[in-house]
Symmetry: C2
């Protein structure tokens, strides 16, 4: 059986974009037909070189998405360029205008709320018109703290509360993540940046709201706290040399409040030296469910995998901006 391959354009060639493109090269049913990155050190070079491959792919990285979309026939854009919808809305417009489906790692696109939803109104309408689908997904948000817990509630007659916990040892991750969680800062710097809304994991509140929405819990309030985790002893990583008392990372909690109770609790710990990394989901309900993934679903590989494994389902989805809950659940695609 010769099936037509799905033609992919990669938009954004940071660490996740690179990992994703390398994965697509191994998929029998997909092929890369183009790549975009606006960074001046990438545009114009061959994609093979950017991916660190020994061979050229004869795919020059374009600095002009609109022009690329005009020149190259494609089906799907895998978009790994930014977390914030205010930054990516114009990019999404160009993709949808060109009749391309989109799978994006944008954390805010998981479940666009309030202001973001307004920013996306034109994208949605045009996507419906062009019969293409636009999805935000990933591992977190997109899997371990939202769609997996929701999936597990499928075996519950009643659900009273969910406690979803993710512990990541930042020492095992790359430099940008260690920096993002505040490693190496003083506590004062961390608190100052937190007060200016510069710290915290984008997507945690989106996960909480996605879960609340589908469980039919009309939350009265969402309370978020972001605190530093301080090194209890000196720690040396590949990138940081922490003294005792330096910030090792973040303890980020989102609480969904309803009628004075807290039916939803999401706890995200990402710090250097975090013991016993894991993902856990505890559902109080009928029956109770207690799930745990030892080591946690960690790393850029898992994120790249979700993006790529979701491609066939996005093509088959209804047109417009969709969420992970609108699609058949993903699975490994060969």
């Amino acid at each position: 059986m010769t099936e037509k391959k799905i033609r992919i354009i990669h938009y954004g060639l940071g660490p996740i974009g690179i990992e994703t493109a390398k994965l697509v090269l191994r998929k029998t049913r997909m092929e890369i037909v183009g790549a975009v990155d606006i960074a001046p050190d990438k545009a114009g070079r061959d994609l093979g070189e950017i991916l660190g491959l020994p061979e050229r792919l004869n795919i020059p990285v374009s600095g002009d998405a609109k022009d690329l979309f005009r020149r190259v026939g494609a089906d799907v854009v895998i978009h790994t360029a930014s977390s914030r919808i205010r930054d990516i809305a114009p990019q999404l417009m160009e993709m949808v205008e060109a009749g391309l489906h989109v799978v994006s790692s944008s954390e805010e696109l998981l479940f666009p709320m309030s202001e973001n939803s307004k920013l996306l109104k034109d994208v949605h309408n045009l996507a419906v018109k062009r019969k293409v689908s636009v999805l935000g997904t990933g591992v977190n948000p997109g899997f371990v703290m939202d769609s997996l817990p929701l999936f597990l509630t499928g075996v519950c007659e009643e659900v009273e509360s969910l406690r979803i916990e993710r512990v990541v040892d930042a020492a095992s991750r790359r430099y940008p993540l260690q920096k993002k969680v505040g490693a190496g800062m003083t506590e004062e710097e961390f608190r100052d940046k937190t007060s200016r809304k510069l710290m915290g994991h984008v997507g945690l509140v989106e996960s909480l709201n996605l879960v609340a929405h589908h469980l039919g819990i009309p939350l009265d309030d969402v309370v978020e706290t972001i605190d530093p985790v301080l090194a209890e002893k000196p720690v040396i990583t590949a990138y940081f040399d922490l003294k005792k008392g330096d910030v090792a990372g973040i303890h980020h909690v989102a609480r969904g409040i309803y009628k004075g109770e807290m039916p939803l609790l999401l706890v995200l710990d990402m710090y250097i030296g975090a013991p016993d990394p894991h993902d856990s989901i505890v559902i109080r309900g009928t029956p109770n469910i207690q799930m745990r993934i030892d080591g946690g679903v960690a790393g850029d590989q898992a994120t790249a995998a979700v993006l790529v494994n979701t491609v066939p389902a996005v093509i088959a989805a209804k047109p417009g901006i969709v969420t992970v809950k609108d699609l058949p659940s993903p699975h490994f695609v060969r």
Copy 2:
């Protein structure tokens, strides 16, 4: 917002059917409009009485499905009447003929294979014509040993093998399950019944084939073994009084073989006194995933929950016979 309720008919009022009907009564978006059971001790009685409720529901249990379908306007049949497709194919025809969607607990309907697929050809064609969907699902098969493992592979760049294990302490379950797994038999009886294909969990091979199909593993062979687990000491349950050496339950293994390797291994232990009940999934791949649900997703409550929580997705599914992998993953429905 007043939403039209989904009108349900319950077909089969054994333990699972009863649990399911009681659950539907608590759902805000669903209502029971009819019930069918051909057992002479049930037909004609009020459903409330069959469910053990203090009040009447003014829904007489019908012994004639075809007649009920003609008289009552409904949307979905929740079917909990039999495991075997050869037994239920005529029942499914009647439902589909009446323009009703079907969610069935039939284990063989999870992923109809070979002979069963042929038996269902007319059902499928008529369902497409009548624009209704027919689904087989449940906890096992339908969730813990197939759709949950597949879901977890969604975060994998590569998948080499899956080991899926379910351990159920049969002492915690109702009499029919204890009997089904062979509790109280002699080893000789068990082996004799096994050789006559009367022992084993219907659905284990269906789970394996569903997983293999979606992971794109063209299995060369499926090797199934069924062995008794013998009581190591005397055990007394509510239903059985086991001597040392009596059969306590079953050890059922299905192996998917491909090119001399065993990429898929499903192990199901159900016996009285099984220590440490759990569901576990180990994926060897990139990354490795090691998941565990302490206590396991056990019991008729979980099965009833899956059937009911899947109802909205079945209504929205494409017409014909569908599988759990064609639908958005289920979640708790209020």
